[in-house]
Amino acid sequence: MDIGYYPGCSLTGTAKEYDQSIRRVFSELGINLVELDDWSCCGATSAHATNHLLSVALPARNLSLAKKQGLKEIFIPCAACYNRFVVAKYEMEKNPGLKKRVEEMIEEKADTDIGIVNMVEMFQRIDKELILAKRQKELKGFKVAAYYGCLLVRPNSITQFDDAEMPTSMEEIIKLTGAEPVDWNFKVECCGASHSITNMNVVLTLSKRIIDDAAENGAEAIIVACPMCHSNLDMRQRNISKQDSQHKNMPILYLSELIGLSLGLDKESLGLGLHFTDTEPVLSRFSTAIVAKE
């Protein structure tokens, strides 16, 4: 199966391991990711916070590229990019005037009939049996918290993905590794997003609350599907530890990394070495034996 692939800026930099693990895992699962040629940034938070037109035009350019390159769907693993794309597409569909202005800006026809697929949806498309059959290792009894953050499920009327308050789709994927998703409170709570650099204090406070609640509910790791969530929860744990001596390290894994590990892929090729918070507690809990297949 072929599908368009838009990594987005983070995956070429701070979230390199996300990109790495995605490419490895999906090739293992027989999916060919066709990277959108000459893709450009979606504008992320900064565009929509300051210039609405820009925030629609930047994704629009990429959608038109996809169309020209014959792609029917693009897989966007970064939740923030995903969100910008679905919203831009929705706004252009709803507002022909806006679409026209965008077309003047990108000097092309704006195409909105391109499917946009997020990380969890990608896994949902793959036959469960295939993942189970390819599984090499198991995480029996290991408790994890699935963290959706803001931008996968919101605004629900536009993303139309899962439930805005009590999503469960990521848990269904996680269960394929044998791990046990915990019921916890902050699945869709915000981590502070782009305040990471401008208002670190905000991010520290929010991230800490999220990590603490996961820990209180028994989670031994948090699974994410967004580079921004990852960097706030992973990178900022050092600062959290500095402020709170009681703080216990909480490994933060991308969903693709978790699946990759259970498929038996080695941690280097998945990029686990690039994390700031130690991931060893997860790695050590994977069964070493090959799981018997039913």
Partner: protein, 184 residues
Amino acid sequence: MSSHSNAKHKERMTLADEIEELTGINPLKCYQCGKCSAGCPVRIFMKVSPNKVVRLVQLGLDDEALKSETIWMCAGCLTCSTRCPQNFDLAKFMDALKEIAIKKGVITRKDILKFHKAFLKQIEANGKAFEFGLIRDYKLATFNLFQDMDIAPEMFFKGKIKLFPHKIKNRDAIKKIFDKANKE
């Protein structure tokens, strides 16, 4: 139909009108229930609650609304927009206020705007975000050189930030988009 429309014959566009034009949302839809503020993750860092910013706009206290730090503190998490009983897209409202504040030059949190500008500058130049450049530009702009000094080197060594930007081929297209967007 005979013309019984209530077309606006206003001398001056109020901030509320401007927001409605920009976002398609009528600020009067908000009935001040406070559910947005109750669930806002950054509420504790705000002096003025999000619903109060809407109230200021409703009351025509335009300056106070534009000058509130709240609009810059909003993380755009969409919690409010998702839970608002009136379907009032408060996150979008906050974005619109920032956009207008920038146009009017009323900027309460220059540091946050500088971050956004630095970020967009990278895109404008390269077509992609270039994190080293971003952090460099932002730090230079805010003189906040030491924050994140602890993780930056490690990021660099882990290959997470590069010294030279990735550039897309068709930078011209991006330039045009920016030019036109800024002209509006």
